[in-house]
């Protein structure tokens, strides 16, 4: 699905992709766009004229006037075919489905990630889906709103070395994510009226593609159910613990629900073959289940979770693999009722660092970010700080 290049031979007819459009045209150059996957190229006007001759099926030999594969025009045609602007006649009648939208701004202004294996260390995927929780209406706008807020703390590279600069954590007095590269794959497409199965299958496919070379996947929700695709991907590589920080109620009956929701996420995750344990970390004032190593699902209060974290002496690559999730809606906010059990930034910050010291964090999700809530500015910046803290816990040397 992600491969768009037509087979190229000087004498085999090709046709212009029906998904090609022109965004800009002047005497010297043209910007051409492929709406099926978002590819955008700026090409000389002379090449644009040659390209238009493929409006009907024509061989490159006929258009270029040569069969020499090393001729500049022929090499250019081969590249346009590889990009998908030229297709085998009939093959492009059904467009490859668009699977992600390009956001107007990217997380921390990191580079855009195309639908191929990322060379970056960490890749973000937005999950604008909020049908999985009754209380999360509006969280579909979380990914784009968080991206906009993230422009206050920009990602950047050293001009001379190209090495990612990372950030400085003033509270811990140490650098964070220095040398760790980021990329943003955009938002998963959610078509009107689609069921979660189709959306999440699309997300799984995109995540598998962009992390094929080892990038750490980060899912940005959306409601808590959007964590499922990234958990599913992470468990494919081996045994996995899931640790999610939120305000999960004690609803074990919901686990068996066939529909994937925020409430049934633990049940669905535990039904995956390699998910061995699922821990919901809840605010300190809520009643946890205690630490029971024999149980596959437990609810643990955040202070107990930090205290119970094993002080692992083994090398990072030999530690247990863990997916870490953060439901930002569980943070204490000025607009909340004082009686609402909530996490504090300091608690989650400390827990994420403790997880990083004890486990190998292989995937992350951040959900529950609804820009419609009061105090959104504070919520967004807190979410971004916690996200970078989690990623630092995953990637920075201990």
């Amino acid at each position: 699905m992600m491969d768009t290049d037509a087979s190229f031979s000087p004498d085999v007819p090709l046709v212009l992709s029906p998904w090609m459009s022109v965004e800009q045209l002047d005497d010297s150059a043209a910007t051409i766009f492929l709406s099926s996957d978002g590819t955008r190229l700026r090409i000389p006007r002379s090449l644009h004229r040659l390209l238009l001759r493929f409006a009907t099926a024509t061989s490159p030999h006929e258009v270029c006037g040569t069969s020499d594969p090393t001729a500049p025009a022929m090499r250019a045609m081969a590249q346009l075919a590889a990009k998908g602007f030229l297709a085998t006649p009939g093959s492009a009648a059904v467009p490859p489905a668009r699977v992600v939208w390009d956001p107007p701004v990217r997380m921390f202004d990191a580079p855009a990630q195309k639908l191929r294996a990322a060379q970056a260390d960490i890749v973000f995927l937005g999950m604008p889906w909020d049908f999985g929780s009754y209380t999360a209406a509006g969280a579909r706008r979380g990914p784009s709103a968080l991206r906009e807020a993230s422009l206050q703390i920009l990602y950047g590279l050293d001009r001379l070395t190209g090495r990612p600069l990372g950030w400085f954590d003033a509270d811990r007095r140490c650098p964070v994510l220095t040398g760790v590269s980021l990329a943003d794959a955009g938002d998963i497409v959610v078509n009107h009226g689609e069921r979660h199965a189709a959306v999440f299958a699309r997300a799984s496919e995109v995540l598998a593609t962009v992390t094929r070379d080892g990038a750490l996947p980060v899912s940005i929700g959306g409601d808590a159910s959007t964590a499922y695709p990234v958990i599913e991907l992470a468990q494919r590589a081996g045994p996995l613990d899931v640790m999610r920080i939120g305000r999960a109620p004690r609803e074990p009956r919901a686990f068996d629900a066939p529909r994937l929701t925020a409430e049934s996420l633990p049940g669905h995750a535990l039904s995956l073959p390699n998910v061995e344990r699922y821990v919901d970390v809840i605010p300190a004032v809520m009643q946890g289940d205690g630490i029971d190593g024999a149980q596959r699902y437990v609810r643990v209060a955040v202070d107990g979770a930090v205290a119970a974290m094993p002080t692992s002496q083994v090398l990072p690559q030999e530690r247990r693999r863990v997916h870490v999730g953060i439901d930002i809606d569980s943070l204490a906010k000025a607009s909340d009722s004082p009686s609402l059990p909530s996490h504090t930034y300091a608690e989650i910050h400390a827990l994420l660092l403790a997880i990083g010291r004890s486990y190998r964090i292989v995937s992350v999700d951040l959900c529950g970010a609804d820009p419609g809530v009061a105090c959104w500015g504070g919520v967004a910046m807190t979410a971004l700080h916690l996200l970078l803290t989690a990623l630092g816990a995953a990637k920075d040397p201990v």
């Binding site: 950047g156 600069l165 400085f168 003033a170 007095r173 500015g377 504070g378 910046m381 700080h385």
Partner: protein, 280 residues
């Protein structure tokens, strides 16, 4: 001065800065062109004055001169110029400026006026160091205002309190004049230790960016940073400063009522100003 339609701060008398008197002279600065992140701090003066109506009259004397005129149409440099004029008038009249912002870029004006009359130190409560690079000719903004202030010859010391969170680089060292107390360090800082960082022989100007306070206490600000200071800690520090040092002026800035929840940020800002006025 503008602002006649607003209640005066703490119910103090309305007055022109051209008059003579003692105590504080309130100057509102409804301007937010120096904040490139988000507009809205221009509504701060009116909102803080309204919130202050719920507080008792402080022990210190004061008058309210209204708002600097013409801020709506002005660029940051013009706002600075007009605020500097208003500050001069207040100081010449025997008052100490008590300024309600507005974005933080405005603090350059009163500090530049005061440091010409006597050497001063500046206490800068802020989640950010406001020390972004600046070169002559570049537009003035709230991101580099402290860097510009530090270059003023009469500013002998800078004490930054509240720096925290994730930043582009390590900003704990801002030059020979400056001491940075991170938000984390401030939790363990006693008032005695605070005053040790403020030489007794200097006059002091106190500038409070409301984002020094934790955003879940004070959400109405444009560049919040998590895990900020408790309002009570800032009040305790302010009370210690005005009780033990000569405070020649103060401001509270970056209150953005557009982003606030039930005016709680304005209420906190009003209480901080009250603490200064009550302790003088």
């Amino acid at each position: 001065m503008d602002g006649g339609a607003h209640p005066t701060l703490f119910g103090w008398g309305s007055a022109s800065t051209a008059g003579r008197g003692s105590g504080f002279c309130v100057i509102g600065v409804p301007a937010d062109h120096g904040n490139g992140v988000s507009r809205g701090a221009a509504r701060g003066p009116a909102s803080v004055r309204r919130a202050a109506r719920l507080l008792p009259v402080p022990r210190g004397a004061g008058v309210d001169a209204g708002d600097v005129p013409g801020c709506r149409a002005a660029d940051p440099e013009t706002v600075l110029s007009r605020l500097a004029e208003a500050t001069c008038e207040a100081v010449d009249g025997g008052f100490r400026p008590l300024i309600i912002g507005g974005d933080h870029s405005i603090t350059f004006a009163p500090v530049s006026v005061l440091q010409q009359r006597r050497d001063i130190g500046v206490v800068w409560f802020d989640a950010h160091t406001d020390f972004s690079p600046w070169v002559e000719g570049q537009g003035h903004s709230h991101k580099q205002v402290l860097r510009r202030i530090e270059t003023l010859p009469g500013v002998k010391r800078v004490l930054q309190i509240g720096y925290r969170g994730l930043t582009a680089g390590d900003e704990r060292h801002l030059g020979d004049k400056a001491t940075v107390v991170t938000s984390e360090a401030a939790r363990y800082l006693t008032t005695a230790e605070l005053l040790e960082l403020m030489p007794h022989d200097l006059d002091w100007y106190v500038s409070i960016d409301i984002d020094a306070i934790d955003p879940f206490h004070a959400p109405g600000t444009s560049a919040p940073v998590p895990d900020g200071m408790e309002p009570s800690t800032v009040r305790e520090f302010l009370a210690a400063i005005v009780g033990a040092r000569r405070v020649v002026g103060a401001d509270v800035v970056e209150v953005n009522p557009r982003l606030d929840v039930d005016d709680i940020t304005s209420a906190i800002a009003a209480r901080l100003l009250w603490t200064i006025a009550d302790g003088l």
